[in-house]
Symmetry: C2
Subunit: 474 residues, 2 copies
């Protein structure tokens, strides 16, 4: 059931050993059982989605082993793996036995059927065993049976403060928030492969092509490198639909293509990048004006990244910068301060400026806002800002995305309840001149260093002229 | 939550209406509730696998609508869909309202919250409501709450005979086994796109390339056409691992590449094709000998396909034909009859010759062997043959795969318990001369017609010379 993957850029075994050791120390005397999860059936049991282990498991073990579980605490960490059947060698090939796998991982590996005895020993010693809420019910049921208490799927957000599971969640957050050297190498590798995808997408684009063809070129570049997509690709001429996952439109000469596509390494680390390019290799004057405005807001937001900076302030900084640009273009009238205070930016920028990045694209979002929001902080209630997924003070080693955007969303601009407070500020005639802009978002992956932002995806063309050259250079 | 997909080759609305009407008539006075299923989280709730509805739902409705449910029986079929939220228009774009969707589908569409009342009405009329076992627990829990009785996930195989659910399963099997005109058009479209994938794979192959690159070229061809893969691609130089899903090997000059890759249409219909080609564009003499032997067995098996033929006889026919070839090559000694009777073929061909094909690659395997095995028939117990997934008498309109293979599986050939009965028949010295053959499988998709087999995938190169030309023609 487990393989030896000579994948590109595996992290050293010591990285995982260190992570496990740090978590064990932080938890003691609490123990933790972290399940990898089960293969999931697409339409019948033998036809499954590609298996991808739970992110916490992947972070601590480094490979996706279906049905496995990591036990931390007590003495040393132990990995419990399901026994292989005699069929496995025919259908899925030779496997490492427990000793071989243990030697590879530098971690004692034991058969999963031994786990109940081990847990009984811990109970006899009155040791509590915490766990993380899994993403699917089959693993929740397995954990429920195994730990003898009710574990619900996808309930990480609702942990009772002070409970063993909450303490484990908080320890995992503390561990995973600042990226270690191996994690930074993984994020950098994901960024390099993500670069290849975006260049392939720009190079493939020409008027008349279908979105599906551009998407295929981008995903193909990721697959070729032995990686997978970290989320379903957004490749669309309707960039105003924020999470558009359909790819059936034909790209017209005057269209902008918005591509939000990222690669994921076998250890789970994600790239998450958005670029926008003109189908015919040349931005119109109106497209260029908005593109440069979004790019300016993004660069400004990146310039604010440094240890100690509150992420919400970066969001607000990007929003203000965009408002200033919109006032310059005449789309908004009045003072930037006044507009910002009333949240006018959300009419065109109705989402947060970014989120944590790591083994998950929205890192640790399985724990709800517990990871993204510092204790005592909660989501803004105002429309648009309420989608902000992160509000912590940045620390060295954190990785975040910075991704402001401008969208003309008809349903939003026609929503009188939303627009009424801004009707006097909004010059709809001027806005109408920008009708060839539907949605522009520019997104990079940024590591927080002592010197400020290190843009992991800086090699992916972003200046309008550079983007045009790649598209037109075919 | 539901979109208007102008996908390639949608079936006419009347096809789905006819399917629903036929099922309703077959079930009356029983009713049926068939759930589409839920989006499934990959690593946290907002990051989901691409949504693909339950196959029975897809067969009857034609589109993947997360959270929807089809109610059949009573008066006319009704589709219940989850309400859209005001966020949806921002994140997933404009949606059809219930009336618009209903007009498209020619099917009354109602909000999902109305379903409980509708079910109460049916209960008041003492009407039983059958359902199908879903593939995941979240939908099983929803069905359990909605129908007020315990519905388990993935338990289609274990239906109590005579129960309402068993009657529904049998009616679905009767309906789906012979493909209607729209289904044949879908299977043909999947076959055409699958053709493009295999040609792309052959053309991309050269010594030194990685399996992942060949796989990317094949999947890219499928994605470009707006389709998805019907199962995780097998693209490997280790064809002896039957369901090898790793793609990390480099392809050497003398290697054979085995690619088992198929496309799936948005309505769910699958292609499922295996081809094998030499990395350097030229089969060695030993590779060619085994390739031609497998091809001969496959052609022979295809020639047996006709209405009334028992599928197990086709499996046995392919096995005998392969044994005859192996005796000719000197790998086996003795009489083909004697070898076949003792199951010697399983040493090199340890799987069934194929399976049903339709909306599922293994069509209706969610119902266990209920679809694949005619009443009163059960799986063979003998090693190898026990993997046969189908044993029905073929009928006009059924689609099946025909896919014999030859594999040198070290673990199997070294298993003394398995090989002991054949040690006297097996010429291991001769076998050793074929060491450059690891695994060869040749698979086509075949429709049963009154005139015999119609090979839907006949345009995909298969003769050794044609395959060589495509690989070397780069």
């Amino acid at each position: 059931m487990w393989y030896e993957p000579p994948w590109p850029r595996s992290s050293p075994v010591s990285a995982f050993r260190d992570r496990r050791a740090r978590l064990s120390r932080a938890l003691a005397p609490l123990c933790a059982l972290i399940a990898a999860g089960q293969r999931r059936s697409k339409n019948y049991p033998a036809n499954t989605f590609p298996f991808r282990a739970d992110s916490h498991f992947l972070y601590l073990v480094g490979r996706s082993i279906p049905g496995a579980a990591l036990l931390l605490g007590g003495n040393e960490p132990e990995l419990f793996v399901p026994p292989t059947s005699s069929d496995d060698v025919i259908w899925t090939g030779p496997t490492l036995d427990e000793d071989e796998l243990g030697a590879k991982l530098e971690l004692p590996v034991r058969p999963l059927p031994d786990l109940p005895d081990r847990l009984r020993d811990l109970r006899d010693m009155h040791t509590e065993v915490a766990t993380v809420s899994p993403n699917e019910e089959a693993t929740a049921e397995w954990l429920t049976r195994t730990l003898g208490r009710r574990i619900e799927a996808r309930r990480g957000a609702a942990l009772a403060d002070g409970s063993a599971d909450a303490r484990l969640a908080d320890a995992l957050i503390d561990l995973r928030l600042p990226h270690d050297e191996a994690a930074v190498a993984q994020l950098s590798h994901a960024a390099i492969v993500t670069h290849g995808a975006h260049v392939a997408g720009m190079e493939a684009t020409r008027p008349g092509i279908y979105e599906a063809e551009v998407s295929a070129a981008m995903v193909g570049a990721i697959m070729k490198a032995g990686l997978t997509v970290s989320y379903e690709p957004i490749v669309t001429v309707h960039g105003e639909v924020l999470h558009n996952e359909t790819h059936h439109n034909q790209v017209a000469a005057g269209d902008l293509v918005l591509a939000d596509v990222g690669a994921e390494t076998p250890e789970g680390f994600a790239g998450d990048v958005t670029r926008v390019w003109p189908a015919n290799g040349r931005f119109s004057a109106t497209q260029r004006a908005i593109y440069d405005l979004v790019l300016d807001a993004q660069q400004h937001a990146i310039s604010l990244v440094r240890p100690g900076m509150r992420y919400r302030s970066i969001h607000e900084g990007a929003a203000r910068r965009m408002l200033a640009g919109l006032v310059d273009l005449g789309i908004f009238r009045g003072s930037v301060d006044g507009l910002a205070e009333r949240g006018a930016h959300a009419l065109f920028f109705p989402h947060g400026v970014g989120h944590l990045l790591g083994v998950d694209v929205h890192d640790m979002e399985d724990l709800g806002d517990r990871a993204g929001y510092a204790p005592g902080r909660a989501r803004p209630v105002r429309f648009g800002d309420c989608y902000l997924r992160l509000d912590r003070d940045l620390k060295r080693g954190m990785a975040v995305t910075i991704e402001p955007g401008f969208y003309r969303i008809p349903a939003l601009l026609e929503d009188q309840e939303l627009t009424a407070p801004f009707e006097a500020d909004l010059d709809r005639d001027t806005l109408a001149r920008f009708s060839d802009v539907r949605g522009i978002r520019i997104e990079d992956d940024v590591l927080v260093t002592d010197d400020g932002a290190q843009v992991l995806t800086s090699h992916i063309p972003k200046e309008a002229a550079a983007v045009e050259q790649l598209v037109a250079g075919r």
